[in-house]
Symmetry: C2
Subunit: 351 residues, 2 copies
Amino acid sequence: MRLHGIDNFLITGKSDLMYFVGIDGPAALLVSTKKNNNTLFVPPLSRHAAETYAPDFLEVVTTKMDERFNVVVAESIGSIGGVTAVDEMSLEDYRFVSGLLASTELRPGMGIIWELRELKDEYEVGAIRRACEVADRAMRSAYEILYPGITENEIKAEIVSEIYRSGGERLAFDVIVASGPRTALPHGPLQRAEERDIPLREGDAVMIDLGAVVEGYHSDVTRTFFIGRPDTQFASAYEAVVAAKDAAEQYIKPETLCGYPDAVARNKLAEHALSEYFMHSLGHGVGLDIHEPPRMSPTSSEKLAANMVLTCEPGVYIKDRWGIRVEDTLLVTERGPERLTKFNYSEYIIT
Amino acid sequence: MRLHGIDNFLITGKSDLMYFVGIDGPAALLVSTKKNNNTLFVPPLSRHAAETYAPDFLEVVTTKMDERFNVVVAESIGSIGGVTAVDEMSLEDYRFVSGLLASTELRPGMGIIWELRELKDEYEVGAIRRACEVADRAMRSAYEILYPGITENEIKAEIVSEIYRSGGERLAFDVIVASGPRTALPHGPLQRAEERDIPLREGDAVMIDLGAVVEGYHSDVTRTFFIGRPDTQFASAYEAVVAAKDAAEQYIKPETLCGYPDAVARNKLAEHALSEYFMHSLGHGVGLDIHEPPRMSPTSSEKLAANMVLTCEPGVYIKDRWGIRVEDTLLVTERGPERLTKFNYSEYIIT
């Protein structure tokens, strides 16, 4: 905080609270370099959880979480004074609290927190590792029931059930199971009611994107399968996506620019005249949130570092026909990336 | 917008995009009273989805969703001029876009959108009704496997699987299954790894809070059960919570202050010396988000209106012993509330 010229930090984001005090809100943590004790404001709703789980060095103050809440927090900040950074806040709350603070400057400070959260310690890597194991088990359970006739929602039911059975505490995000031309909608292909019960058919691509949460930490894995014999265009595109992923991973190591592996993947796809169909970035950080910094995107100017955890997920999406994405969660080490999700992707044909 | 003195509205919130254009982002919708056409900015990632699902009257502009995105949107706003409201934005983006707009004022406008989203039309009520049916089926499937020996996570697996099997498109929120003293942590009782596999035992309270999403709309229902014979303190507290709920619902009707049903419930619990153990508000709106305005809380000054959908969920939580909450999703009608979740709560004892 001193390095950034900040006297106080007001933290209300769910994941940030989890990171710093081990409870996931609603609450507000006020840290100050000008005081010896730090304060955790909690609504009556969360008092027991705070008393049970929050670290001892925090003073827990119970206060109702209504209009009054912002006033209480602002009074507390005002009485300390100085420059106060905040992690995240609704625009209304930000303007309201700023208005209450005559002599204290409020400024966005999420970037400072990401500098910490981007680098995972041993405990965090352990949790992500376990979340990846759960994801692998869920992918396997889906793989085992992929046959013509089963519907997307039946596959989803199997996946979510397996995530909980395997010790996941929740889903990392809503599981994506898309088949046929809907695989060409890269993310969250919105399901209309009439699409939900469409059964898989011979000749369908099937894209499954899933993740689990363990101890608050996420995993993220995508596999694309094909029911029956794919034509040469699909087969060669699949091989190109895998080649792009493997090539990019050669460059996922400390000190490399985050944009470079993305460029390598894009270049590899260009060799197959497919780069125009890869219309998202190569990957994103994973931790207490499913999408975190850093981004591996063409415009990213950040550098990779050891102990970052991120996805590598090249894809190719041909409108009205099919899409292919292969994604793993990786740990950046001095020796290159370690794949934390391990489900096989060399065999994707279901016959 | 004219009524609120606003010329442009910039909409980037996931649920707001869903509400106005039927896609769930990432995207930015720019509506202006000063122009004939409205613009939907989408990253390449979402272009196919936008073309497939967005209404015809929108001009779809594809632009990368990186640092450049805010610049493109700001240039577009700047070229129109006037006062621009935004629904939600990170503080960093808000400051960045504000900085780019010399002559145009940017202001928070989520309150204006809530005036619309709070009142559900027939289509929305239909979707919520179906989401409530899915929730009821999931609650029934959990109820049917409640016996000593089953673990919280096994119950969760059954619930999530049933939600997908019954046509839910996703979970409304992470399912809460808490047993024993953990039921006394009102919301999201954080599960440590070692707590996840604890089996239900005779003498345990079990709290299940779940919801489903259908067509983007949520449902929310909680039931509390007891394994074996409850002592008189638990039994009378359960009856008090039910009485509080029934009493409060008498006043959930148009023109009533949102704080009044909360006061009625609190007062009823006070008759049993339990009001101090009810440490959250009575209910919240439900729609495209799981928690929406209005709040039924002691400090809420809003009025209820026909076609609002909200929860009624009194609870009592005795630290280190047990908690009880009974919650339904209700539609406010001229004749009072209609319960959209219908799972029985008069019989809660599992023997």
